[in-house]
């Protein structure tokens, strides 16, 4: 079933907010001035961060990939206490658990950087003659994954990612303890 991404973004708006917040946090960490942040709006794009361009490939990379790291970590932590009961055991009666699960899933579903983010990395790293060949080779798969994530959202890849990550942490914990 194909549902327009715009509608999905409305339903999963907490994820959009965290995604933009992650860009903003990484701008701060990378010391890149931010001009404007739209955390969520009812038009396309649903959120954005306008910031100063950077000629430092590392800064561009982290600002673009930041939401992937932050959304994944926060989403996984939020869903951890409820994912076992909801995803694995199908218990839908606890409303607070459902609320937490919705927030966690929304955040996880917006972990993938946008194609716009990928373009920034392409320009700053792949097309940048000053960047070494080794770095380009290392970054190329990441860009590939970002595009797969963006295209795959049509086939609910973002949802699959959310389900996968939310169950991964309990499975890792079972292996450890």
């Amino acid at each position: 079933m194909i549902i327009p991404g715009f509608l999905i973004s409305i339903v999963t708006f907490p994820g959009v907010i965290v995604h933009e917040l992650a860009h903003q946090i990484f701008c701060r960490l990378m010391r890149v001035p931010v001009y404007e942040v739209k955390y969520f709006q009812l038009s396309n794009p649903c959120g954005y961060v306008l910031h100063e361009p950077s000629d430092n490939p590392l800064k561009v990379f982290f600002i673009s990939v930041g939401p992937f790291l932050i959304n994944t970590i926060i989403g996984a932590l939020i869903t951890l206490p409820v994912s076992i009961e909801i995803v694995e055991f199908g218990q839908y009666s606890n409303l607070i658990n459902l609320l937490i699960c919705w927030i966690g899933f929304s955040i996880l579903m917006h972990a993938f950087p946008s194609t716009g983010d990928a373009k920034c990395i392409v320009n700053a790293i792949l097309k940048n003659k000053e960047v070494s060949f080794l770095i380009k080779i290392l970054v190329a798969p990441v860009i590939g994954l970002i595009y797969i994530g963006a295209v795959g959202s049509v086939m609910w890849l973002d949802l699959l990612y959310a389900v996968g990550v939310s169950m991964l942490l309990p499975k890792i914990l079972v292996m450890i303890f």
């Binding site: 903003q24 890149v32 100063e52 361009p53 000629d55 055991f89 199908g90 607070i96 937490i100």
Partner: protein, 363 residues
């Protein structure tokens, strides 16, 4: 003059380009980036672009919510762990533990069907068809399940139906035995009736051969049938226990001990196998080992009459009469009675060989 004017406009343009685009009061600071359009102060201000206070408040509420969910997490995680490791636990020999944990989970998470399905799968893989049937009947029958679960359960059900066809036939046969027949006459009758089913494809051949073995007129035939049963279904532990017992009857203590240990590797809390080992060791003269196994069996289930009896016998053989009497009192106080063979053993009418072996092991 014209030249001066041009030079002033150029200067003015350059000046404007060098002025901060935000405050318009200071020169642009390009020390950190050549794309900078801001002065030092404005850069710092924009780098620390404020995060809305509302988000911080929402974050605190969220931390509180998630934190409160974490209070329940250890319990939920423990439940999940027992589910996720059930198959592994069963393979390590803790089948009953795994199955009991899964049943507890099934009661806790009534909506979920994957837990009882896993319990059925583990039961089937370990020859516990009666338990699999119980789980299907109690937790899955007449419940809405998806197609893959339905197909899986249907496959298991066919196997269980076959098992119960034979089980019910034997049960009916035993219940309807002529009371005037002697024990050996009954055995011959049952054995003949069971043999007539050997070509019946509706029967569970493993169980049928097991029944044929326990009703066989002699050890040689019993052994042949039980081996046929194991060949049909290697998972049915009762056949392995019977084979171990037959080996004991043949006084093949090493073979019997090996078989019982094989069973215990598959099911560490198998009381029958532990009690079987007691018999092996007591007949072999290692009374301390016999007591050790008997205590192990008793500790698994202190209400199990077979385990109680076996412990009393092992202790009696080891000369621990005081403790035998203690357990005997416990046994009799709950209304239980010893069968004739056990009674004869405790009264000194028969010895340990007579107790454990047919014809006192003289065959």
């Amino acid at each position: 003059m014209e030249e001066n004017k041009q030079s002033f406009e150029g200067y003015n343009q350059d000046y404007e380009q060098e002025i901060c685009k935000l405050c318009g009061n200071a020169y642009i600071d390009k020390s950190e980036s050549r794309y900078s359009t801001l002065c030092t102060n404005c850069r710092e201000k924009q780098i620390k672009y404020p995060i809305p206070k509302l988000f911080i408040l929402i974050g605190i509420v969220l931390i509180f919510l998630v934190g409160s969910s974490f209070v329940q997490f250890p319990k939920i995680f423990k439940a999940y762990k027992s589910y996720a490791t059930a198959e592994q636990k069963a393979k390590q020999g803790y089948v009953n533990d795994a199955l009991h944990s899964l049943e507890d989970l099934t009661k806790q998470y009534t909506e979920d069907k994957s837990i009882p399905v896993l319990a059925v799968k583990i039961s089937m893989n370990n020859g516990k068809y009666e338990y699999a049937d119980y789980i299907i009947d109690k937790y899955l029958a007449n419940k809405k399940v998806d197609k893959s679960i339905y197909n899986e359960i249907t496959t298991y059900s066919k196997r269980i139906d076959q098992y119960y066809t034979t089980y019910d036939f034997y049960d009916k046969l035993i219940k309807n035995l002529d009371k005037n027949m002697t024990k050996s006459q009954s055995m011959v009758y049952v054995n003949t009736k069971l043999k007539s089913l050997l070509n019946d494809n509706k029967q569970d051949k493993a169980l049928l051969n097991y029944y044929l073995s326990i009703s066989a007129p002699n050890i040689k035939e019993a052994k042949e049938f039980i081996q046929a049963s194991i060949k049909e279904d290697n998972n049915m532990l009762r056949s392995h226990i019977e084979l171990a017992y037959i080996l004991l009857e043949e006084k093949d203590f090493d073979g019997s001990r090996k078989k019982y240990n094989e069973i215990l590797n598959k099911e560490k809390d198998n009381i029958d196998a532990l009690c079987g080992l007691v018999a092996v060791e007591v007949l072999n003269g290692d009374k301390k080992a016999a007591v050790r196994y008997a205590r192990q069996a008793y500790d698994i289930n202190q209400k199990d009459l077979y385990a109680m009896e076996t412990l009393m016998i092992a202790l009696n053989e080891d000369g621990q009469t005081e403790e035998v009497n203690k357990i005997k009192d416990e046994y009799l106080s709950t209304g239980n009675k010893f069968d004739n063979t056990t009674l004869d053993y405790f009264n000194g009418k028969i010895n340990i060989n007579d107790y454990y072996l047919s014809n006192g092991g003289q065959n």
